[in-house]
Symmetry: C2
Subunit: 574 residues, 2 copies
């Protein structure tokens, strides 16, 4: 395999050999390694010294199910620390087919021109782009498909990325031509700072990937794939209801953060839950289940149509529905679907935009429950880059500062997602301590706290939470390096043979003899370099803390955040 490196200051390109130390790194492990090795932690995230790295995972392009996630890495303009955000879509598998282990974009143009990058088997072409500037992601994908054909991969930014907003994401075209996002941390702003509107991918005649022991790999992949379908979460709940199955579960558990985390239950939950969504999709002839990338067998995605049966959005996730729903007190699924569509099109993260809207409601820019008002702010302000749009597009902390709001639901500037840290304490430990800023996917303690997967830890008590989060953060850093979807974790955690099949696939593909220790060490290594990058970027212990309001009791369980600073400081000390 090889490294494609693009320099936007010189508008030049090079193909490099993969350094040996990067051989068994992929996905997050590789993006975080490259950022750590090559980026000055003190640099301005939107300046010429930052780099943007795209890396498929270790299993990209193989028969392993759900192995097509794409990792994107940079120093984040939202958190100020290192960031990996991963996405579905077709890009990771195309890069793998081209034999590209990482695409590194560095420098930035000295003038005002904008560019596109076309990636193919012989390298890349850098071309000036004018036509698609100012356009949304749906139009970009549509136009590129017309320009280069259906079988072209796309990674693109919407208007928000052009404005370099800290909530801007990078969207990736999926098999249906819809959008998947590397959502968190403002990586779209980094792409915008380098004046790249989109990257197109042509994997024709790519050299492909190498698998040292194909038979062994295929045998392991069979066990792996079977295990995913056997588990009740990845085999039943997610295919039927999508991730939004969680609304009722978290509401019941009293951990659904409602009205900017004032309550753990939302009166309108029934109207926005996965079961309601499923019935609505069926009724409107949408699609209740499909994958975000080829080879996904969990198929938690769906197509949500409007009342007339026309396409409205897809990849309509629990966290989005929670955020604009319970978080903002909106109980209208159609309005939330509209908001999701607009966020995807403009290219802004739904979780951080939801957090921003909660802050806007605190500031009385909007009334609680005003979904149409949210939609209007997104369409009229953020999309156009008005002054108010510039405020909102830069996220909850920025909006809070603009309006003097103290109740801002973030850690390291990133919005706490759909699980209240007081009522689901394990996820609170993850929010506080992950180098990524508040991120449920960085150590999904909800599994053992609520779903009773991979063990059982009482969500309301502090006992066992730090250990739970640490173990999951380590495992997740490894999973994120494989390019496997995080939803494989349920089976990996509960079924020994599935975990062992992952190890077998690594060993078979790369000709190594990894043990469980090597797997854990990969996770620890990734977390260690990420923590170290953040330390050099200026992070201190203060950054590993939850917002002050978590000292208030949250109903119905009237629990407070009670895990001490000292306990938090030990979580990622290996």
């Amino acid at each position: 395999m090889k490294i494609y490196r693009v320099n936007m200051s010189k508008l030049s390109f090079s193909i490099e050999d993969v350094p040996e130390r990067w051989n068994t790194l992929g996905g997050r492990g590789l993006t975080s390694t490259i950022i750590s090795e090559e980026v000055d932690p003190a640099c301005n995230p939107l300046g010429s010294k930052n780099k943007l790295v795209f890396a498929p995972g270790l299993f990209a392009g193989t028969k392993a199910a759900n192995s097509g996630r794409l990792s994107v890495g940079a120093k984040s303009p939202l958190t100020g620390g290192i960031k990996e955000s991963n996405s579905g879509g077709t890009a990771a598998q195309r890069l793998a087919k081209l034999g590209v282990k990482a695409l590194i974009i560095e420098g930035m143009p000295m003038d005002d021109k904008w560019y596109t990058i076309h990636v193919h088997k012989d390298g890349v072409n850098i071309k000036e782009e004018t036509e698609l500037l100012g356009k949304g992601n749906y139009e970009v994908v549509h136009t590129i498909t017309s320009r280069y054909g259906e079988n072209t991969g796309v990674m693109t930014i919407g208007q928000a990325g052009e404005y370099k907003m800290s909530t801007a994401n990078i969207s990736v075209k999926d098999p249906k031509g819809h959008l998947r996002s590397a959502g968190r941390g403002g990586l779209g702003a980094v792409m915008g700072s380098k004046h790249i509107k989109f990257i197109s991918l042509d994997d024709n005649d790519g050299e492909g990937i190498e698998i040292k022991d194909k038979k062994k790999f295929d045998d392991a992949a069979k066990i792996f794939n079977k295990g995913l379908l056997k588990h009740p979460v990845s085999g039943e709940a997610l295919p039927k209801y999508g991730s939004n199955v969680l609304v009722n579960i978290l509401n019941e558990a009293g951990g659904l953060p409602t009205k900017n985390s004032r309550m753990g239950r939302f009166e309108g939950a029934e109207k926005i839950c996965g079961e309601t969504m499923h019935d609505t999709i069926v009724e409107r002839h949408g699609d209740t289940t499909h994958g975000c990338h080829v080879g996904c067998i969990i198929r938690c995605s769906q197509t949500y149509n409007d009342k007339d049966g026309s396409y409205l959005t897809s990849g309509f996730e629990y966290e989005t529905i929670w955020g604009f729903g319970a978080g903002c007190m909106v109980d209208d699924l159609d309005v939330i679907a509209h908001i999701d569509h607009e966020c995807d099109d403009i290219g802004i993260d739904t979780i951080d935009t939801a957090g921003t809207m909660m802050v806007a409601m605190e500031a009385e820019l909007l009334k609680w429950g005003d979904g149409e008002g949210i939609l209007n702010l997104i369409k009229s302000e953020i999309k156009s880059g008005t002054p108010l749009g510039r405020i909102l597009g830069n996220g909850p902390d920025f909006t809070g500062k603009a309006y003097g709001v103290l109740r801002v639901p973030t850690v390291k500037g990133q919005t706490m997602p759909a699980y209240d840290p007081r009522a689901v304490k394990g996820i609170g430990v993850t929010y506080a301590t992950t180098p990524m800023g508040a991120d449920h996917t960085a150590g999904y303690s909800v599994a053992a706290n609520i779903l009773k997967v991979g063990g059982s830890v009482d969500p309301l008590k502090k006992e066992g939470q730090t250990e739970l989060s640490r173990d999951l953060q380590i495992a997740t850093a490894s999973i994120d390096s494989t390019g496997l979807c995080l939803f494989v974790s349920f089976a990996v955690l509960d079924f020994d043979e599935v975990f062992l099949s992952v190890l077998d696939m690594i060993n078979a593909q790369y000709g190594v003899e990894w043990t469980k220790d090597d797997w854990n060490n990969m996770g620890k290594y990734v977390l260690t370099i990420e923590k170290e990058f953040n330390r050099k970027a200026g992070f201190t212990k203060n950054d590993d803390r939850l917002p002050e309001f978590t000292s208030e009791a949250i109903p119905p369980h009237d629990v407070v955040w009670d895990i001490s600073d000292e306990e938090l400081d030990k979580v990622l000390q290996f």
Copy 2:
């Protein structure tokens, strides 16, 4: 003396004895001590845990000339670190006459009501205020004078403080009924967060201050006062031209930061310099020289009238004229005077507002040189708290982030003032290392670099600059604790007997036997607790760095910033 403590959560008040350890502390030394001892460094500066402290200096209320500066301290919403900002006006001397060593305001109201605090000999009254909400500082001072009489002190915030903007200052009524400002660091936002519109001061029948050895004090004060008048800077240049005498001097030196620090000389300097200003004031029958507080004998202030001879502004300082002038390429002194008036009225710091306007010009919100455009943004946007006003009112870093501008002239979020750190390297060391964020007054190396006061150090070479800045930062921390105007430093630095008279005054007033070492130790102590507060607030070495653009050569001398990180890190290690 005593401490007045106001709790805005409980709307309660107490009078406390002065702890013995605070006896020989005043001004900055006392505000920084109280903030360090009582405020959680990790707290939100606009939350209930921050405190706002007003403290006259050690010599307030005495016959020592120029001893009426008021220190205001808090955790800064602009820098995120500890802040002391001092101001002229009549408040310090009134507090001294009341025997109040510090006024501490803590907590914040739980509801939306706003209050005023009336300070008198028996304590304070906290009253709800509605009439003056939304009004500018000039109207507040005028109204209070009508309400309580001419002889009432006022400390007030304008609209910006009500909006909790990070550039909001606290204005203090001066002897002419005009405004002086504790300008930097957003202390007006802290006052606004506590819902205090203004503080009025009635010093009638105050117990006054105690001087242990009055004769000795008076003798020393005579030497001190005489020394100030003998020095060419404080005795001649400042009274005649005000601080704006520096435009021509810095322009000549190639250290006048022009067009957001792209050049060290400004073509329009002649039109905005102190000499032109002096002639204009004379021609329009303004006042060329008066003091900002009773007992000032340097009298660097002036009243600047408009073309019709009507009052336009006073306290029209070099840094203001530089910032909106050379910094933004505006060469019209009348427009700058208008801007100064509006900034004073709305209650925003002129240096940080100038820095913000430079960033706005980088973002193409305004054209370079468009003084009317600046005035319009201040009057139409900041004053009204529009979304754009919220962006601009929160300072240069905030505006830079909103618009993706990289060239932002700040350290710790605070604008570098009117001396380019590449062409006046000693001040660059101060900008980088002072705990206050970029601040020329924290260690005015310009003295030895340019004015050849207190020694002579080549401004363009790196040799000797760190030592120069360190010594001056120590001396300044002590001076700021006495309540003496920083302009006494020229005589203190150049004339031994003036320095010794300061020591004699401390010893006479407080019955101690301080040596030069004790004086230096006071400065080192203040800097040490400030640095420690900042460390606990999350500051790292990265925060002690100049902006990246200082690696570009600045004409006419084509010098770059070349003092290493390692050298900077040693400056305040005692």
